[in-house]
Amino acid sequence: MNDATRPDLTMFLASSVHDMKNSISMMIGTLQEIVGKADPESHPHYRDMAHMLYETQRINGNLIQLLTLYKFDNDLYPFSPDSVALADFVREAQSHVQTLLDSKQIAFEADLAPDLYGEFDQDLVTGVIVHAMNNAANYTRDRIRLAVAEIDGELEFRVEDNGRGFPKAMIEEGAAAMRGTDFGTGSTGLGLYFSAVVAKMHRNRNQRGSIRLENGGRLGGGCFVLRLP
């Protein structure tokens, strides 16, 4: 094979990630159905299956992030901000993690004004918030709160938990991801980087979106905060 006929390897990467995404979507659907129907008390493998669902969702999240970042770089992502009813948004985001939360007996609470609307790319922001909630599910004691509010003309999303909070180094990583300097390591790095890129894609006038990690909030644990102009 000479160089002229050698295919672009990044294309293979992108297309096989696409293929994997299809398979994983199916696995998630099936697992959600099984875990949803199984009785936590009596089913012998309930905890294992719930954990498998969590891992599958993590892989799916990572794949989406990788694929989307690849598309951003090549101008192949159809960025489509639209008017979104936040009540719907929260309900949909919750549905992606509900089975997981049930299996871990984590209580979920949503906090937003009933008639709140925002202008953003629903698919991207769902990806960011679901990632944050999955993360919170892993570190919380038994509660997660998703709050959305309009603050100073910006839309603020908060994912809060009642766990022990983020270590100091992690909060630094959040800030670094926004600066675009240092992305830490492993999947935390990818998730934060993705979230920061999505936030910054949302612009209005001279303002850009942002993310940050902090401790405290209403539940006293870790908080992931996304702000969109």
Binding site: G29, E33, S80, S83, S95
Partner: protein, 553 residues
């Protein structure tokens, strides 16, 4: 009675949304089909209300048998039609009504699957994995949107743009959930109604509070329509710079450059858009045309070929890429290939207009490749076909035929065709110039100028006669004069609008008549077909609607 339990504690309406609806699930993977079926069942749908199809052909068959309320269709259906093409065919063949909710399912969001520029669009895109809550929320949203737009869509279908605008305004006062869509549609309607200043104002006031890409695109389109091409270009350049995957903006930017006469830029902008999304047959066709005009024959051939291949399974396929391909082959001195393509074209489309257009290109192929005898034979055949034809050829084809007639010595026929073109478009400078060039090419410069001058004068007299008579309140004579003018110039927009104007004014003086109202409406709709966004159209149609309404009371 207790309300049925629904997922995620939704209201009973969630359940009703599913319980009484017929679903079609289209996916090429068995596993996905059964998963989506059980998802829809979990939402409350009855098992007998769910059908599945494994590919596009099967889906079309199913859609022909039953009226579905909801279609969940995967974009990627393996070989054959993709989801977008199934949707297009279903709409074109009227297999789904306006109330049907079409949800396009994709594994990921990309410029390839997200057909922001397509003429026919699904009601929503769903990205896998889909949950009950996602499906329920999206269906609610679509239903609410369809509900909000019932009257507006009806007014739009009747081309009553001013009424549709009024309805958008009224609805927007109370409907927060659809406020943005209503505003967007209203702005588009203002452009369609030719109220460009109002449209610009509306877009600018949106942009004053927020940078919204669709509003920027809309503003550019309004400037384009108003003839302020430089302004449109500047807005669009900035738009694609900040939104690099906004394909529709590239299409308009290319159109704007073409209108500005900068074909090189028009080509490079299209090439950029195609690098991002190569699978649009209309965009490939547009690229082929510009490349052909620039004499870049290899590029033109490649683009036309792609357009033909891409539209193979599309219900919206057009003869144009075949014709482009034949013209390109001819320009490459390959008449055999050109004629083969024309044959292929007529095997794909079977109608009179296509036969005429193919014939015109066939003659040109012979003429261009040194076979004047064959060209002359084709020209004579074409003359006969045109005499008998029940359809009018479009302006570009007519000019092409005229060129062929000159080249083969059929000057009388050529002049007759060009006179009709001038009669129909006496105010269109670009067209008049192109007619003059056809004369020049035949070495008939001064005769051409004289013919154009004389024909234009004749047209203008006929066009204004009716209006002058109407000014003297001689309405019956005015209507007769306009009928005569329409016979002479059936595609003259001003004649059609003036005819409608005198007829409507006559009826406004207390002479309402069903037959006259029908005649006026026919004139208006023909004018709108020829020249969309003509402001007089919207005003006259509104006046006619008011008359018809009074007559009913």
């Amino acid at each position: 009675m207790t309300s049925p339990r629904t997922p995620f504690g939704g209201a009973a309406t969630d359940y009703e949304l599913f319980a009484n609806s017929a679903f079609l699930i289209v996916d090429d993977f068995q596993g996905m089909r059964s998963m989506l079926s059980s998802l829809v069942r979990a939402c409350g749908a009855g098992a007998k209300m769910i059908d599945t199809a494994a590919n596009g052909t099967e889906a079309i068959t199913m859609l022909g048998r039953r009226r579905y309320d909801v279609v969940l269709c995967d974009f990627n259906l393996g070989s054959g039609k993709n989801g977008q093409q199934v949707l297009e065919e279903a709409r074109v063949m009227n297999l789904i009504g306006p109330a049907c909710c079409w949800l396009m399912v994709t594994a990921e969001k990309s410029t390839e699957t997200f057909m922001g520029t397509a003429e026919i669009q699904p009601d929503a895109y769903l990205i896998k994995p889909i949950t009950e809550a996602v499906l329920t929320a999206r269906l609610h949203k679509i239903k609410a949107r369809k509900q909000a737009f019932v009257d507006i869509d009806a007014a739009m279908a009747a081309k009553d743009f001013l009424k549709a605008i009024r309805l958008c305004d009224e609805r927007a006062k109370t409907d927060r959930a659809n406020a943005v869509d209503l505003l967007r549609v209203k702005c588009q309607l203002l452009v369609q109604a030719g109220q460009l200043d109002k449209a610009k104002q509306a877009y600018e006031s949106i942009l004053a509070s927020r940078d919204i890409p669709w509003a920027q695109l809309g503003l550019a389109r309004a400037h384009h329509q108003a003839g302020d091409l430089e302004r449109a270009r500047d807005i669009l350049e900035q738009l694609v710079d900040r939104n690099r995957s906004y394909l529709e903006a590239y299409d308009w930017l290319s159109r704007t450059y073409r209108a500005l006469g900068d074909k090189d830029k028009a080509e490079s902008v299209l090439a950029r858009a195609l690098a991002l999304s190569p699978n649009s047959h209309t965009r490939q066709q547009a690229l082929g045309e510009v490349a052909l005009e620039l004499g870049k024959l290899d590029a033109a051939e490649k683009a036309f070929r792609k357009s033909v291949t891409l539209s193979e399974h599309s219900a919206l396929k057009k003869p144009d890429p075949f014709l482009g391909l034949a013209r390109t082959a001819s320009a490459k001195a390959d008449p055999g290939e050109a004629l083969k393509v024309l044959e292929q074209l007529q095997g794909t489309f079977d109608n009179e207009e296509v036969r005429l257009r193919a014939k015109a290109v066939e003659g040109m192929v012979h003429q261009q490749n040194g076979d004047p005898v064959a060209a002359r034979r084709v020209a004579q055949e074409l003359s006969g076909m045109l005499e008998r034809a029940a359809v009018h050829l479009d302006s570009t084809s007519t000019r092409e035929v005229a060129g062929l007639m000159f080249a083969t010595g059929e000057n009388g026929k050529a002049i007759e065709l060009l006179e009709a073109e001038v009669m129909n478009n006496p105010d269109d400078r670009t067209l008049l110039e192109s007619v003059q060039q056809i004369f020049n090419k035949a070495g008939l410069d001064s005769q051409g100028a004289a013919v154009i001058e004389k024909t234009r004068g004749e047209a203008l007299t006929l066009m204004n006669q009716g209006v002058l008579l109407a000014r003297e309140e001689r309405f019956e004579e005015a209507i007769a004069a306009m009928r005569h003018a329409r016979e002479k110039m059936p595609k003259n927009v001003r004649v059609l609008l003036n005819a409608a104007y005198v007829t409507i004014t006559h009826m406004q003086r207390g002479h309402f008549d069903q037959a006259l109202a029908r005649e006026a409406r026919k004139c208006l709709l023909e004018a709108n077909q020829l020249a969309p966004a003509e402001p007089r159209f919207a005003q006259l149609l509104a006046a006619l609607e008011a008359l018809a309404k009074d007559a009913r009371h």
